[in-house]
């Protein structure tokens, strides 16, 4: 059911581990206790950051500051990771174009804001700001959702019964296409979002950590959308169609479920969530670039794998954990190492715990 390299059917030590019993035992131990070990490492990192700050008598402040940053970053990763995991869950494709849909959403947001004069509206006071957000979110999420649906229809649907490598390569092709397109349209330089001035007011200061409404907004949007998604998948007909299609496509067909429409909806929702992430990103930061989604996408993908690819709750959790590793790890060993740390985590997960933290054992999926 799953690509051999990513989620092996049976977790089994390879290489030296197979030959040497002691290593095999260690592998089993690390694999079985992976969640505890990971949380311990993250906790130690956080303590390390505290001690680092304590050197300047500001341990708690530094910790609180980075916790705020980790939550904001994690919220964005979580929203993007959900798109990866939903698509993987339903058609077992790693949609490499997903990160670029995120970038495209950022450009859509700039376009719509300019077109509707939203920047001026948002500057005109709280009422105007709320109105601007109420226009920006639905319109951009709709545009990105349709983008995702079109990508599936054009590039992936025909290959649904092909060997798994074929749509994977196509996904990389779509990613290159989107990046090339955005490069030609937006140019190679940073593009100012014009939205970093939307929300600037300071919310509160707690123990020397200043928290702005912007920070609260990002996390609230992410959590709100995640709970809405959960309710949708649990409670609605379409949500049930999505769950059943992900678990057994033929059986879903026999129940009268329209598979094509269900998969389209999945792409729509995943892309719309990436759009929400992109909007909060542009509200939070001053610039975007044509290749922004490339690395951010792979980091979010790591979050999805960490949580257990195919598991939506896992993707949300993984997003926040990856945010924490990025921020606290970077603080401890130097920000230039943040991404290296994330990808080291990816390798470690794939080696020791390919099903992730909350992943479904592949054997029960057949």
């Amino acid at each position: 059911m799953a690509p051999a390299g990513l989620v092996p059917r049976v977790r089994r030590p390879t290489g030296a581990g197979r030959a040497i019993p002691v290593l095999r035992g260690m592998y089993r131990w690390a694999s079985g206790n992976f969640p505890a070990i990971l949380l311990l490492v993250i906790a130690l990192t956080v303590i390390g950051v505290f001690l680092q700050g304590q050197g300047h008598d500001q341990g708690l402040t530094l910790m609180g500051l980075q916790l705020r940053n980790a939550l904001v970053l994690g919220a964005i990763y979580a929203l993007v990771a959900i798109g990866y995991t939903m698509v993987y869950g339903i058609i077992e494709l790693i949609n490499f174009a997903h990160g670029d849909v995120f970038t495209a959403s950022g450009f859509y947001a700039i376009l719509i804001a300019t077109l509707f004069g939203l920047n001026g509206l948002a500057a005109g006071g709280p009422g105007g700001l709320v109105l601007a957000l109420l226009i920006l979110f639905p319109v951009v999420m709709l545009m990105s959702g349709l983008t995702g649906m079109i990508i599936e229809r054009v590039a992936y649907r025909r290959l649904r019964s092909s060997p798994r490598l074929a749509p994977l390569i196509t996904a990389i092709g779509v990613s290159f296409f989107l990046e090339g397109f955005m490069l030609t349209r937006a140019g190679p330089d940073n593009v100012p979002t014009g939205r970093s001035a939307w929300i600037t007011t300071h919310a509160f200061t707690f123990g020397g950590v200043s928290v702005s409404w912007k920070d609260i907004f990002v996390v609230a949007v992410a959590l709100g959308l995640m709970f809405a998604l959960g309710a949708f998948i649990r409670g609605t007909r379409l949500g049930k169609a999505m769950r059943s299609t992900a678990q057994d496509r033929d059986a879903a067909l026999l129940c009268g479920i329209n598979i094509n429409r269900t998969i389209s909806v999945t792409f729509f929702i995943g892309s719309a969530l990436a759009a929400a992430a992109a909007i909060v990103y542009t509200i939070n930061l001053e610039f975007i670039q044509w290749n922004l989604g490339y690395r951010l996408g792979i980091i979010a993908f790591t979050a999805a794998v960490l949580g257990g690819i195919g598991n939506i709750v896992g993707a949300g959790l993984g997003g926040f954990l990856i945010g924490a590793i990025y921020v606290f790890g970077g603080q401890l060993v130097g920000g230039e190492w943040s991404e290296a740390l994330i990808f080291a985590v990816l390798v470690i997960i794939l080696t020791f715990r390919p099903v992730g933290l909350l992943g479904v054992e592949v054997t029960t999926r057949a």
Binding site: K240, A241, D248, D250, L253, L254, C255, G256
Partner: protein
Amino acid sequence: MSSVAAVGPESSGGTAPPPRKPPVLEIVGADVFYGRVQALHGVSLEVGEREIVALIGSNGAGKTTTLRLISGLNRPASGEVRLRGQAIHTLGAEKIARLGIGHAPEGRRLFPRMTVRENLQMGAFARRDRDGVSQDFGRVYRLFPRLRERQTQLAGSLSGGEQQMVAIGRALMSRPSILLLDEPSLGLSPILVDAIFEVINEINTAGTTILLIEQNALLALKTAARGYVLENGRIALSGPASDLLTSPDVQRAYLGM
């Protein structure tokens, strides 16, 4: 064809045969391929209103392929599948399911991470009549009291027999006019097999037409009114179940006599 039917048997003159009501299900000369391998060779069969028909044959004879052909999971390269006279083999599988074909497939194919109740609900996915659906919940729980106890349990955690009950129950939840059962006895203890076949008879008595696949030919032919024997993708024999039971060929090949 339709003009004859419109005239009716009384007014049709002399030699014309009386118009026959089309069978519930009919396969006419179907060829099915998996890639370059031909799995079915000109298979024809029909299932009449309220009949139980058994399709027997050894492993790989094409039994499951035949059911998948009817449900639209496999496509015929040539030939037709008709439901009450209407060709359905060009429709998508989800449309065929909505026309009233319930299929409990090979290997049960439950949704393992949904509860028993949710699995049954999925069977009624295409239905809008809430009252009818809740009636059918009652009916399935009456047929399989075990499932009522296990309602909130995940389907993946059930025993084989219970999973088979859910598979049949899920197919029934669409209130099908014909029920396709793929090896309902597979992997079950003899006592459970008897219980399941009792329920199959009960479902049929209540008015549902059934097409049944079995490797257990004796059991299938005792349950069914008529039977077909598939060999290497071809219908080798067909007839009333009692005739097949006494046929020397069937006895030698499938009944171990």
